[in-house]
Structures are given as structure tokens and as C-alpha cells.
């Protein structure tokens, strides 16, 4: 015989459709987003890693100030067991957009044609496929490059430019003002060689697999390069000493191994990191949902306590009861999960893929079934849901049948009524008792509101944060322009102040490597307005914050070109937000780095330095460009953040609705009785809805410090270690105000539904069920 209790399921579903619909919708929403994301992520990752291998991504590249002799390159290649491939490029800046142009190669960094074809004629160019979306370009369009008109022949994905980082020190890629173009060799040669950067890509003869192997292999290249450079420069020096004119020392202006190259790795790391983070997010949300479901089931047990007691007394086992009361919530959950996965693997995957495509230069992505993603979004959440619900149900149903019959199911001894002063108005005493009586609902609600609040804040915080970053960069700028020179050169402008600069790296265990600018500052500087103590260094505030440095600490920085560590004693912080930086006296800088006492390599200036030789200027950093990275960062985030915010709001509404509904249902008899006594629905709402409102609004305010702590923790333990560069932790007060307003605004809709529910409770409810 089939259990006749099973006949309850459909009727129960019909009578409490709202509850099961909310559970269903909640899980559909979460699972579709997460599975869509993971599926897209897995497909993109497959394409990404496949392309790196198949299209022979470089193992590194290096640039020189002048073209080195072939013998030098040959010697380095032999010593380091690598093959060099010429990979010169030039850059063309037009309307603030920089196009870096290479030639098409079939040996290294082979382009994958996404649309159109590779260039065949000298006046043709192909662009990375992000240019098509970012600037509305299409095949056949003609673009101006250094006075030439070039026709776009196609769009490609390059393995060495998955993310468009113009410079490896940039905090974020910049698809809007930076792009890559490829031309035929003949076409490339038609351009002026004056702007060409002498660049070589290399690949190891023996493939390096692990990080350590890659580091060692890169180290080998660097050592070989150092040896050859020293030898070559010694020879140049000797020739110069012998009186030969016009000689220039050979310098490496860029050296970047693949494992450090953000343009190659950022997308992959982003995908891996996002995948882990979003899976964790799913598990947290499911755990919260499982507790919400458990609370609703406990309410059902309370409502049906005497029936349960009778059934248990008649011989129904605890297992039968547990199974019976978990069927509907679990079915809603499992069906929600199935529907969520279907949406996730179809529409949502396409949507997520489009977001990835808007961020990274991807080639052709093949859609495939991903078992791991499916397990992550189905098996683990289901286990979480079942374990939490069964554990709570078993714990609740451990009570003996007699206790159910007596409706003593709280598990604890009968508590005395809490004493409330008669001075407190009656309505407030009533509300306080409602809150305490429904504590489990309200505690779950508070946890959920905090979680939803954190998601809303996450969706809201980045735009104001990046505006703040931009403002801080402008406010703490040292000078409007920073000129970086290839060789020292006197500037005639009066406001120009010399400085020396070099770039070192952090080497802190557990953190991603950061590039740190070490500045040598002249005595009585007009630009650095703090005295730098002898033998010590001022450290930029971002550096101090990110690495939790304090005065007196020693910062150890690494120079990969000389394989040396340099220690700096922190004398205090200096407000400078444009990059991680260390400021020392220029004479100490020169002695530390083996420079001549009068060495310098740049100028601070409030005006453009026209007197300098253009070809001797290595780089000009202006404050607008430096602060502009915040805009780039926001553009990269914006597509994601809008949906995140609304996801938080929907989660908030569904959860508050479900739990508030439970409070009303649990008190249906009391509400009915108050109606009999003559209270109007409005007055009853004033008791029950106001109680829930107090909890919701209280939770929203409580969420502010909790979310603040949570976000701070995420920044410190996750973001700061995973990201190179510095993003200050600051959440605008407006974000919290918006979170509270969004919460209250959406709660008003829930409260209206609650009032409707109160109106629907009949007076007969109290008479019918009173026992």
C-alpha cells in the first residue's frame, strides 16, 4: 500500500504555493547564474588554454633600447636553450587610443582568426577582436595609422594578448584605449623605424611546465642576458674610452616572462579565481536557503504538532516523518536546480560568454558539456541542502510523541513569559513578544539580510570606489607630468625637478608580485613635501596599507635584472596613490643602485618639458592618464556589477517574503483572535508587520558594520593577495544608504503582501483550530 500521506503533497503544494515558489525561484536564480557562469567559464578556459598551446604563445619577451648584434642574441639563445623570434612593434596613438602594431607570425604568438582573414596586402591590418566591439569597427573599415590608411582585413585573437594590458604594471587591462594590430612584414616596414621598439619573443626548447620550471627557465635567460650584456657593454665602454663617438650602451628596457605576463595570464587566473569564488558563493547561498527552508519546515511541524504526535503515537516512525516533511521542500529545491541548470547551460551561458567576450580577446569557443561544473552546481548544493534539512528535521523530530501532542516542541523546558514593564505601551509589548516568539525566523532573516546586503554592496561599491581612487590619484599626484628619460638630459624649464627612478618587485610570500617604483628625491624637493630621513625611506600609503607596513619595518624589494634584494627601512607613509612607491634621497638611491653621484633619470614638472629631446623620452606619465585607469577598471567591471546588485535585491525580497509569510502563518490563530476581538487588519498589521519591519530595518542597519568587516576581510585576505597593484578599501556612505533604501523599498512590497495575507485570515480560524 502506498503511503496515503503522499496524497498531501499536491494539496500542500497548492495551498502553500507561495512558499514553494519562492524556494523554487530562489534556487533557479542562483543555480542558473552560477551554472551559466561556470559552464561559460569552463568553455572559455578550454579555448584559452588550448589556444595558448596550439598558437605557440611566447615564453617571454624582451626589448632593447637599440638593436643588439645578432651574436649577442645567438649567444643568449644558446646559453638559455631558447629560440628568439623578432617581434618588433610600433605604437600609434590617435584620439587617446593606442594601437600596438606587430607583424603576423607563424612561429610564435600565432593569431587565431575570429572573423575575416589575415592581412595579405601591405595596406591591410587585422585587429584584436575586442576592437570590433569597443570601437564599432568592422571588416573593410579603413583606419588611419601614422599617416597611412589601412583596411581592416579581419579580427583575431592573440595568445599573448588575451587581456589588453598596455603595460604589465597596469592594474587593469584597457580594452578601450589600447589595442593590437598585425600587418604583413612588408606593410610593417613601410612605417618609420624611429618609433619601432626592438623586441624579441622567445620560446624554450624544452617546455617548462610548472611555475618553478618556468621561473628557473626564465632565470636562465636573464642570467645569460646579464652575462652577454655585461660583456657587450664592457666592449662598448672600452671603445668609447678609446675615443670612438656615437656609441650607446645596450640596455634592456623590458623583460617579461610568460608566467608574469598579465596580458597572457590575467584571463586564465581571473577565470580560475572567479570559478572558485562563485562556487563558494553558491554554497553559502544554498546553506542560507537550507536554513530558511528548515525554518519554514519547523513552522509546519509546529502547526501540525498534534497530528505528528498522534501519528507517532500510532506507530509512524521518525524516519517516515522526516521523509514526509522533507519531500516538498526538497522537490522544490531539486526541480529548481534542474530548471536552473537548464537555463544556466543555455541562455545564461551565452550571456556569461558575452560578458567574457567583452572583457577578453577570445578566439572561437566550443560549447561542451562540463561534468565538473555540473557537479559543482548540482551535487554539492544538493548535499548541503539535504544534510542541513535532514539534520534539523531529525533533531526536531527526536522529541517524543507526547511532547508533540502537548505542543511542547521547542525542545527546551517551558519558559516563563519575559517580564516587560507595564510602562511600555501595550502595542510595543505585543510587538516585542512577537519578535521573541518568532526568534528563529527573525534570526534566519537577519543572516539572510546581511548576506543579501553584502551582495548589494558588492554590486554598488565599485563605481564610487573607483571614482574615489581616481580622485585620490589626482589629489596625491606629485607633479602634473613625470618624464622618464632614457639617458640623463638637462631640461631648461625652471619648474623641472630631477629624480631618479627604478623599478623593483615585491617578494612577499602568499602575495602576487607587485612592481614598486623606487624614487630618488633631491634635497629640499619642491614636489615631495616631506623630509626623507637619512638611511630610511618614505613608503606610499597604498604600499603601507596593502602589505600592512608600519614605521620601522624593513621592506625587501627584488631586482630581477641583477638578482639582488634591496632593503628599505620605513620612515613613514607618503600620500601617493598612483602606484606602489618608495622614496629615498637621491644620493642614497645612486649609491644603492651603483649609479654615479649625479645620476638622475627623470623630471617632475607642472608643465610640459619642451626642451627635452623627444627620442630620449622613455615615457611621460601625466596625472590624468594615471587617474584614468580607474575608469578603465570600472568599464571592465560595469557589465558584471549591475546584475550582481539586482541579484542581491531579488534574493533579499524572496527571503524576507518567505520568512515574513511564515511569521504571519504561524500566528494565524492569534491574528484571527485579534480580529474577533475587534482589531482591524490595519491595526493587526501595525503589530505583526511593524515587528517584522523592525527586524528587517534593524538587520539592514546591522548589515552595515558586518558587511564592512566582511568586505574588509575579502580585500585583505583575497583581493590584495590575488591582485597586483593597490585598490584602497573604501565604501562610500552612499553605498550603504542605497543598500538600506533598496532594502526598505523592496520590503514595502513584501509588507503590502503581508497585509493582504492578514486581511485574508478568517475569524473562524481561531474558533476552528482552538483546542
Amino acid at each position: 500500500m502506498k503511503n496515503p500521506m503522499n496524497k498531501r503533497f499536491f494539496r500542500e503544494l497548492k495551498s502553500d504555493l507561495g512558499k514553494y515558489l519562492v524556494i523554487f525561484l530562489f534556487i533557479v536564480m542562483v543555480v542558473s547564474v552560477v551554472s551559466g557562469f561556470l559552464a561559460a567559464n569552463a568553455d572559455v578556459a578550454d579555448s584559452y588554454y588550448g589556444n595558448l598551446k596550439n598558437n605557440r604563445v611566447e615564453n617571454g619577451h624582451l626589448s632593447f633600447n637599440i638593436r643588439p648584434d645578432d651574436e649577442i642574441m645567438k649567444a643568449v639563445a644558446e646559453k638559455a636553450d631558447i629560440v628568439f623570434y623578432p617581434a618588433d612593434y610600433f605604437e600609434e596613438t590617435n584620439n587617446g587610443r593606442t594601437l600596438r602594431v606587430y607583424t603576423v607570425s607563424d612561429s610564435v604568438n600565432i593569431p587565431e582568426v575570429f572573423e575575416g582573414r589575415l592581412p595579405e596586402r601591405n595596406d591591410e591590418i587585422v585587429l584584436d577582436n575586442l576592437q570590433s566591439e569597443a570601437h564599432g569597427l568592422k571588416i573593410g573599415d579603413r583606419i588611419p595609422v601614422d599617416g597611412h590608411e589601412l583596411t581592416i582585413a579581419g579580427f583575431v585573437a592573440l595568445p599573448n594578448y588575451r587581456a589588453l594590458f598596455k603595460d604589465n604594471a597596469d592594474l587593469m587591462f584597457d580594452k578601450d584605449s589600447f589595442g593590437i594590430g598585425l600587418m604583413t612584414e612588408e606593410g610593417f616596414e613601410a612605417f618609420s623605424s624611429e618609433h619601432v621598439t626592438v623586441n624579441y619573443a622567445w620560446r624554450y626548447n624544452t617546455e617548462a611546465e610548472t611555475d618553478k620550471e618556468k621561473r628557473d627557465a626564465s632565470e636562465k635567460v636573464l642570467n645569460a642576458l646579464r652575462d652577454e650584456l655585461t660583456e657587450a657593454n664592457t666592449a662598448i665602454y672600452m671603445r668609447a674610452m678609446a675615443g670612438e663617438q656615437g656609441l650607446t650602451m645596450l640596455e634592456v628596457t623590458d623583460f617579461l616572462s610568460d608566467y608574469e605576463n598579465k596580458a597572457i595570464n590575467f584571463a586564465g587566473e581571473d577565470m580560475n579565481g572567479d570559478s572558485a569564488a562563485i562556487s563558494m558563493f553558491l554554497y553559502i547561498v544554498v546553506a542560507v536557503l537550507a536554513f530558511i527552508v528548515a525554518v519554514t519546515t519547523i513552522n509546519t511541524l509546529t502547526k501540525e504538532a498534534s497530528v505528528i504526535g498522534t501519528l507517532r503515537a500510532s506507530g509512524y516512525t521518525r524516519g517516515e516523518m522526516v521523509r514526509h516533511y522533507s519531500v516538498l521542500p526538497l522537490c522544490s529545491f531539486l526541480i529548481g536546480m534542474a530548471v536552473g541548470n537548464i537555463i544556466g547551460y543555455t541562455w545564461m551561458r551565452d550571456f556569461m560568454m558575452s560578458i567574457y567576450r567583452s572583457m577578453y580577446s577570445l578566439g572561437n569557443v566550443h560549447v561542451s558539456w562540463n561534468r565538473e561544473a555540473f557537479l559543482k552546481t548540482t551535487l554539492i548544493p544538493t548535499i548541503i541542502m539535504i544534510v542541513i534539512n535532514f539534520a534539523i528535521l531529525i533533531w526536531k523530530l527526536r522529541i517524543r510523541p507526547l511532547s508533540f501532542l502537548r505542543r511542547e516542541i521547542s525542545g527546551s523546558k517551558k519558559k516563563r513569559a519575559m517580564r516587560l514593564s507595564p510602562k511600555i505601551p501595550f502595542t510595543w509589548r505585543f510587538r516585542i513578544r512577537i519578535i521573541f516568539q518568532n526568534m528563529s525566523n527573525y534570526v534566519t532573516m537577519m543572516v539572510g539580510v546581511v548576506l543579501a546586503g553584502a551582495i548589494i554592496i558588492f554590486g554598488l561599491m565599485f563605481q564610487p570606489l573607483l571614482n574615489e581612487v581616481s580622485r585620490r590619484i589626482m589629489d596625491t599626484t606629485i607633479s602634473r607630468y613625470q618624464y622618464l628619460l632614457k639617458t640623463p638630459e638637462e631640461a631648461s624649464e625652471s619648474g623641472a625637478e630631477r629624480f631618479a627612478i627604478t623599478s623593483l618587485e615585491t617578494a612577499r610570500e602568499g602575495y602576487k608580485t607587485d612592481e614598486v617604483s623606487v624614487y630618488g628625491i633631491v634635497k629640499d624637493s619642491s614636489y615631495i613635501d616631506r623630509e626623507i630621513p637619512e638611511g630610511k625611506a618614505l613608503v606610499s600609503n597604498g604600499f603601507m596599507d596593502k602589505y600592512s607596513l608600519k614605521e620601522g619595518d624593513t621592506v625587501s624589494l627584488y631586482d630581477k635584472y641583477s638578482d639582488k634584494y634591496y632593503d628599505f627601512t620605513v620612515a613613514g607613509d607618503y600620500p601617493y596613490e598612483a602606484s606602489l612607491a618608495v622614496f629615498v634621497k637621491i644620493d642614497e638611491f645612486n649609491s644603492t643602485f651603483g649609479k654615479t653621484p649625479d645620476y638622475y633619470s627623470g623630471y617632475f614638472s607642472e608643465e610640459k618639458l619642451e626642451s627635452l629631446t623627444t627620442s630620449n623620452i622613455y615615457m611621460v606619465l601625466d596625472s590624468e592618464t594615471m587617474s584614468g585607469f580607474a575608469d578603465q577598471l570600472w568599464k571592465s567591471f560595469a557589465d558584471f556589477m549591475g546584475p550582481v546588485r539586482w541579484f542581491g535585491v531579488i534574493m533579499f525580497v524572496l527571503m524576507v517574503y518567505l520568512l515574513a509569510k511564515q511569521v504571519i502563518e504561524r500566528n494565524a490563530v492569534s491574528i484571527s483572535m485579534t480580529k474577533i476581538l475587534g482589531f482591524t487588519p490595519g491595526e493587526i498589521g501595525g503589530l505583526y508587520i511593524v515587528s517584522t519591519s523592525i527586524v528587517v530595518i534593524g538587520s539592514l542597519f546591522l548589515a552595515i558594520p558586518l558587511v564592512d568587516r566582511l568586505m574588509r576581510l575579502i580585500f585583505r585576505t583575497y583581493l590584495y593577495k590575488r591582485m597586483s597593484g593597490y585598490l584602497p578599501y573604501c565604501i562610500s556612505n552612499n553605498c550603504y544608504i542605497n543598500m538600506v533604501l533598496l532594502g526598505i523599498g523592496s520590503y514595502i512590497a513584501v509588507a503590502a503582501l503581508q497585509l493582504l495575507k492578514i486581511r485574508r485570515i478568517e475569524k473562524s480560524e481561531a474558533l476552528k483550530t482552538i483546542e
Partner: protein, 233 residues
């Protein structure tokens, strides 16, 4: 050995100053097929004794033995199986499942038994056949209690435990229910132990047990049971 043997059963609630002795040493034997009425004023321990017999409450001391099996020796799982196979419960409050029909509520009891009675036949015996497709909220109190009795009886239990089954009913409906119990007892031969504070009901019993202050005050067999229809109160 009697079918139900109760030896020196003691039970208290609360501790310290709040300690209340409910049963202070109850000895009682009930034979198979007997209709036993437990009488006594409020607080005399009738319901507590019934709950201990039914295995949903524990005795502090003493034991209950049914058909040579001590309930105190059974663990929770075994006790549940025991109730499932041998006992039927009827409470003052009907405790029906609100979203199951009359028939389905009775089937809930039938599901527990390997050899349940025939549902339609029992519905007719209970006078509920015409109401079989109604939900509990469409029934009168008497009809609801008859459904509850049906749910207990359908599995043809050895012992039917009834705790104030007419406590919430009016005179005529109470008579109806008691007549039904009387009929079930004679038709199916179940042992019925019924708790009531209505002294008049002693006439319908084979055995009358009066409890006072947690002890058996009197325990006797009626020479002849009076039909419920003839009892007035």
C-alpha cells in the same frame, strides 16, 4: 498472566519544589478483549497511566507488560514498531490531517498494518461512508472523532487507547461515539482502555478502575455491562 500487566508504576513531573507525584504505585491487570474504563478526577493520573501503557511516556519505576513484553525494555525504535503493530490511539482532540479526506485519514492508519480491516466496510460501520470524500473541516465534531476512531481501529490493534474521546463532544454525539466503541469492542474483540472523568461511563465497562492521588482506589469487574444507549448522565 493477564494481557496487560501494570506493576508498581510510579511517575512524577517537575523537580525540587515543583515536583509533583502523578502516579505513586499503580498495580493493575487487564484481560484481553476487556473494555476497561479508567475513572478519576482531574490530576489523578489517568492520562499519564494511559500514556505509559501506550509507550509514549516513561514510568519512573515499575513496568507495563503487554502480552508478556515489557515496554520499558524496548528502545525507541522497537517501541515505535510495537505501537505500530499493536496499539491504536484516540484522543480528545481528533488530530486529523486537515488536507486528507475522511477515507484518506483512515488509510493513514491502514498503512501501518500488515492486515488492515476493509476501509469501506469500516466507513459504513462508522457511519462515515457518505462523508468519505470530505475534508475534516467539512465535518461535525462527532464525525471528526469517528474518523479518528476509524484511523485507530482500521489497523485492528490489540489495544485501543482512548483518552477522553468524548471530552469535546455534546451529549448525543458522545453517546454515538461510545456506542461505536462498544460495537468495535464486541465486533473486533480489541481490548479498549478508555480514560474518562464521566463516572456514568463505568456502566459500559467490563472493568472499572478508579484512580485517586496517583493510586488505584478501586478496581472491579462489572457483572454485566450496560449498553451505552441505556446510560444517562
Amino acid at each position: 498472566m493477564s494481557f496487560v500487566e501494570i506493576k508498581n508504576v510510579k511517575k512524577h513531573y517537575g523537580e525540587g519544589e515543583a515536583r509533583t507525584a502523578v502516579l505513586t504505585g499503580v498495580d493493575l491487570s487487564i484481560e484481553k478483549g476487556e473494555l476497561c474504563v479508567l475513572l478519576g478526577p482531574s490530576g489523578s493520573g489517568k492520562s499519564t497511566l494511559l500514556n505509559i501503557i501506550g509507550g509514549i511516556d516513561d514510568a519512573d519505576e515499575g513496568y507495563v507488560m503487554i502480552d508478556n513484553e515489557k515496554t520499558a525494555d524496548m528502545n525507541e525504535k522497537r517501541l515505535t514498531q510495537y505501537r505500530r503493530n499493536h496499539l491504536g490511539y484516540v484522543f480528545q482532540l481528533y488530530n486529523l490531517i486537515p488536507n486528507l479526506t475522511v477515507r484518506e485519514n483512515i488509510e493513514v492508519g491502514a498503512y501501518l498494518s500488515k492486515k488492515p480491516l476493509e476501509v469501506d466496510s469500516l466507513l459504513k460501520t462508522l457511519g462515515l461512508y457518505e462523508h468519505r470524500n470530505k475534508l475534516p473541516n467539512q465535518l461535525s465534531g462527532g464525525q471528526q472523532q469517528r474518523t479518528a476512531i476509524g484511523r485507530a481501529v482500521i489497523k485492528n490493534p490489540d489495544i485501543l487507547l482512548c483518552d477522553e474521546p468524548t471530552g469535546a463532544l455534546d451529549y448525543n454525539t458522545s453517546k454515538e461515539i461510545l456506542t461505536l466503541l462498544e460495537r468495535i469492542n464486541s465486533e473486533y474483540g480489541n481490548t479498549i482502555i478508555m480514560v474518562t472523568h464521566n463516572d456514568a461511563l463505568k456502566h459500559m465497562a467490563d472493568r472499572v478502575v478508579k484512580l485517586r492521588d496517583g493510586r488505584v482506589h478501586s478496581n472491579y469487574l462489572n457483572e454485566k455491562r450496560m449498553p451505552v444507549s441505556e446510560i444517562e448522565w
